[in-house]
């Protein structure tokens, strides 16, 4: 019973250790400057107190949208991974075609300037 949960336990432990390690290292090695924003609850480059009527930049949405798309497309690789032995070389061709199509989309997005931050 316990045995089957062992991998999960190990995984949790490892996660905690690695996370802690990085945090400590960051604290030790990184430079320390005290800025007002650093005291904000969410420190991710945006002012946390948003004025009423404030809107995110359009580019933010654009990139977010593109991210969702490219991110979710990868889901199609999972079934291939499950059956990769059964399909053999065909799985490889299939994946290549899929990646090429994604690349086409990427080229298009890039050339249209959707990735430039305005």
């Amino acid at each position: 019973m316990l045995r089957s949960y062992l991998p999960a336990l190990v995984f949790l432990l490892l996660g905690g250790v690695v996370g802690l390690a990085f945090a400590l290292l960051n604290h030790r090695l990184g430079p320390h400057r005290r800025v007002a924003h650093k005291q904000d609850p969410y420190e991710c480059g945006l002012p946390s107190e948003v004025r009423r009527g404030f809107r995110f930049g359009i580019s933010f949405y654009l990139v977010a949208m593109l991210f969702i798309l490219f991110d979710i497309e990868v889901i199609f690789l999972y079934p291939v991974a499950v059956r990769v032995r059964a399909f053999g070389a065909f799985a490889l061709y299939e994946t290549i075609v899929f990646i090429v199509l994604l690349a086409v989309a990427f080229v298009y997005v890039w050339r249209r300037g959707a990735l430039e931050w305005r």
Binding site: R85, A86, G88, F90, L101, V104, V107, Y108, R112
Partner: protein, 536 residues
């Protein structure tokens, strides 16, 4: 086990390139056209993109004809290539090619970028091809979404016109509700039968005595709603008038003819193949929906002054007529539906081509005033419109008459005589608004365009020149007609548009031709109907 795996590794799955070729042509074309859209020069983008789109459609047409009389399942049974799919494919591809021609000078394709515009048209057509060939609920859903998502965008491609954007968002929201409903219904059917394959569903229903299983019936109900939504059957039609009016007219054309053909195609395939054993439970519901649709569409069209809205309501009514062929689930019914779909393509192409041409010529938008006096000033446009209207109303010697005759015959033979009567009554009511258009063309004086033409390319009521302040149109004067539909940067109204006039004439002539010599289309429809093997 290991032997089978080894065999698979050696050979890989078999891919029937022939059966896939129409869809591949469309999708390949979409990729190429999309990349051409990146070309630096505007003229190159415009000419090459539309040219390549036409080539792709031609290739798809060729592949479809090449595959004619095939009867095979491809992609592990996900798609079925038979005469029904191929016949509807012919309609779809023709509609797509016509859309490219109509968009040639459209403002929409310029604003959205030619590459994107045509690539989206191609993708949507590919989605429709997948849909009509679907043999599996997964490919059904995929096809529906692949056709819808590009259409949401295409509706909104006239970025400077707020109705266009509004129609896009409305279509998206309502369309997604429809898709979600459809998905939920498909999930329930899967839950009840344990399979996503149409044939497996059919045999599960037939053998398992599921005909009164609530899960299955709820699933069917939701699927009915989802598909009815796509084919704009009342009461799920409400997006239709708004979206038809707001979308750029070439896209409206595409939606009207191609979406309807694809949706009716899958209606036939799903209900007459997968659910054929449960016919007793769904046929009365579909018949009721058809009746509601005929009534609502014809009644709603009566008071319209916008031609596109009028045609939208007419599309709702025609969806009701078409559904009659599905209800009876006989080969005759399928044949009648496919025949009417082909006829429907021709009539609507003729009508919409005229609307497109007049929109660009008059600057009056799609108001009925734009065609007033057309008989005297532009007989070459007035005739196709007249023929289209008469054919939509089902006047003898037009293809629409023959189509309706088949539908009525099929419903009478299938035990739904009252539905045939409803079709007749609906056609009689519809004469009122179709003839209004005809009367406007032949009996009214034309709108006086001469004065404004000299002063400004746009009519004075449009609230100033759009060149000066592109953002002003739409926001400042919501009541103003969409000032002209000239090409981007083109100041003057379009004068002569050979491709649009030619299309209108060809479609009008074909409508009359098939009204007098229906046999070629009958043969096409018969082959399509006979490919539904489960029917008699």
């Amino acid at each position: 086990m290991s032997v089978a795996l080894a065999a698979a590794r050696l050979h890989g799955p078999h891919i029937d390139w022939g059966g896939l070729s129409p869809i591949l042509a469309l999708l390949g074309g979409a990729v190429v056209v999309l990349l051409v859209g990146l070309a630096p020069r505007r003229e190159v983008r415009r000419l090459v993109a539309s040219g390549l789109a036409l080539v792709a459609f031609a290739a798809a047409l060729g592949c479809t004809i090449w595959q004619w009389d095939a009867s095979k399942s491809i992609v592990s049974g996900a798609l079925r290539v038979d005469d029904l799919a191929l016949a509807v494919n012919l309609i779809l591809v023709s509609a797509g090619a016509a859309t490219v021609l109509l968009s040639w000078r459209a403002r929409a394709s310029g604003e959205a970028g030619h590459g994107e515009f045509y690539a989206l048209v191609l993708t949507s057509t590919a989605g429709m091809s997948v849909l009509v060939a679907a043999q599996n609920t997964v490919s059904l859903f995929l096809g529906i979404e692949l056709l819808s998502i590009p259409l949401y965008v295409l509706c909104a491609t006239e970025l400077h016109r707020s109705p266009s954007l509004e129609s896009g968002l409305k279509y998206l929201v309502i369309g997604s509700v429809g898709s979600a409903t459809l998905l939920y219904g498909l999930a329930m059917i899967y839950g009840a039968t344990g399979s996503t394959d149409f044939d497996a569903i059919a045999s599960a229903i037939a053998s398992g005595g599921l005909a009164s299983d609530p899960l299955l019936l709820t699933g069917i109900a939701l699927v009915v709603v989802g598909l009815a939504f796509k084919s704009s059957v009342a009461p799920f039609h409400q997006w239709t008038p708004d979206v038809y009016e707001g979308a750029p007219t070439p896209i409206t054309t595409f939606m009207a003819v191609a979406t309807k053909a694809a949706a009716l195609g899958i209606f036939l395939r799903f209900f007459d193949v997968a659910l054929v054993s449960a016919q007793v439970s769904w046929a009365p519901a579909l018949a009721a929906l058809a009746t509601i649709s005929i009534v609502v569409g014809n009644v709603g069209a009566l008071g319209q002054s916008s031609l596109k809205r009028l045609l939208a309501y007419s599309a709702v009514a025609q969806a009701g007529y078409l559904l009659a062929g599905v209800v009876v689930s006989t080969r005759a019914g399928a044949r009648a539906t496919v025949f009417y779909l082909a006829v429907y393509l021709l009539m609507n192409l003729a009508a919409f081509a005229v609307v497109v041409a007049r929109e660009r010529e008059t600057g009056l938008g799609d108001d009925i005033a734009a065609v007033e006096g057309l008989g005297a000033s532009r007989p070459w446009l007035a005739w196709p419109m007249t023929i289209a209207m008469l054919s939509l109303a089902g006047i003898p010697a037009t293809a629409g008459f023959v189509g309706k005759l088949f539908l009525i015959q099929a419903s009478a033979d299938g035990g739904y005589t009252w539905l045939g009567v409803v079709i007749v009554v609906g056609s009689m009511v519809s004469l009122a608004y179709y003839l209004r258009v005809v009367a406007a063309m032949w009996m009214r004086p034309g709108p006086s365009l001469g004065a404004t033409e000299a002063a400004s390319p746009y009519p004075a009521i449009a609230g100033g020149s759009p060149e000066a302040d592109p953002d002003a149109i739409g926001t400042s004067t919501p009541a103003a007609p969409p000032a002209g539909d000239g090409g981007p940067g083109a100041g003057a109204r379009e004068g002569f548009q050979p491709e649009v006039v030619g299309l209108a004439l060809a479609a009008g002539a074909a409508t009359v031709f098939f009204g007098i010599v229906p046999s070629p289309l009958v043969d096409l429809a018969r082959a399509a109907g006979n490919s539904l093997l489960g029917l008699f």
